[in-house]
Subunit: 248 residues, 2 copies
């Protein structure tokens, strides 16, 4: 009997990450406590530690909000400095309602508050931004760790309640598994099946963590068939072009 | 050292399921081959076997398309009988483009072709519908198997490329983990964090399967903290009300 299986373990004992820290070294050390990583493993890393290591944190005290931030903050009961940082990160504000600003980021991601977040920021009155180039962050970690890497964040979705963790950066893992033109179990050609593997891996990793735990990274074993020799297209390939988007 | 972990295994040797089959018995038998299920396990079951067991299959030969189905089929290059079945399952057609009809189903799910699918249907020229009440299907399987159950399907998403598996039915698992008002790792109150646990579990289970394999069910171990004593709110709780939906 051969059963397919996937096994996910959180890396224990990752310390609080600060700007300038060598995140690759910290993660490698933590991975060693659970037997290290193999080339066929995928390491899912919460973007927050990546952003912190890369210095993508903003102390509110140094932010001076402009008129647009002040107006939006006033309307939605938010801190105008927080709104200014969101506007700085947003390529476009798509909707504003009840304190939430749904934005498209410079990467093309559509998410609440342009990914700017105050939770688990590591210091009071500090905001954490998304990494500037999460695919490049993933590539760097992959080079250091020798396994596939995804960088993840929690995004809200259209039509459905709650957030799911998705991949905002990816290296060494095929972001999608394209079954179009391949046969199903009964030999019938699949017409429209493209599976967002990197997003499903991010979601799976999120199940291992609690939001009040300090477990920013999860080792995923069992995705060998999606692990690639090169870095691959990255999570940028998961951004849907507007003209192809029927689900909005 | 205590590391959190989650382990997923596909149930081996589930036979082709036919209308009227006792799916609970077939899944229990398959689970026994990998040591059975515990009360704290979650079994993720692809809706297709549930639909087949419940007789939610439609042979195309018996479908007589009306004028609306004929017009849509003509416009989008589809079989008018297939379109008729989609229209029968749809509460509303939201968009129609390039052969895809994005619909809201009677359950409130927004998905391509109202969940009507020709792949892995088990017989040629046959369509598989979504279960009539997937939460009730999950409750029945839970009673039979004695573990939490989610019924899953692959849905396309707004803004992002590819499909992710989501939970369309759920029993014995909290569909969401609501962190609003609870503290993060640094004691700061989380404002907007509601995690769609059942959808993340569905996505995780999808990683274990290939689309050409006959592995309709995956046992998930390690989600004890989300397993509930009762059936719970079900996947119906994951349908976002339109007025609360900022992500469309």
């Amino acid at each position: 009997m051969t059963a397919s299986d996937v096994w996910l373990v959180a890396l224990p004992g990752v310390p609080e990450v600060r700007p300038g820290d060598d995140l690759g070294a910290l993660l490698a050390e933590a991975a060693d406590r659970i037997g290290g990583v193999r080339a066929t493993d995928v390491l899912a890393v919460s973007h927050k530690v990546v952003s912190k290591a890369e210095g993508r944190v903003v102390p509110l005290a140094g932010v001076f909000p402009g008129w647009e931030a002040r107006a939006l903050a006033d309307e939605h009961g938010k801190d105008p400095r927080h709104v200014q940082v969101i506007l700085d990160e947003a390529a476009e504000v798509l909707r504003a309602d009840r304190g939430r600003l749904i934005c498209r980021t410079s990467h093309g991601f559509v998410c609440a508050n342009a990914g700017v977040d105050a939770s688990n920021a590591g210091a009071p009155a500090t905001l954490v931004l998304l990494p500037e180039d999460p695919d490049e962050s993933a590539r760097q970690l992959r080079r250091h760790l020798g396994c596939a890497v995804i960088i993840t964040d929690s995004f809200g979705r259209a039509w459905r309640v709650g957030q799911c963790e998705v991949a905002i950066g990816c290296a060494g893992l095929a972001p999608v598994d394209d079954w179009r033109g391949r046969p199903d179990a009964q030999g019938r050609e699949l017409a429209a099946t493209v599976i967002a593997i990197a997003d499903e891996a991010a979601a799976a990793a999120d199940l291992v963590r609690a939001k009040d735990s300090r477990e920013p990274a999860v080792r995923i074993r069992g995705l060998e068939r999606h692990v690639t020799a090169g870095d691959g297209a990255g999570a940028a390939a998961l951004v849907r072009s507007l003209e192809d988007d029927l689900f909005r």
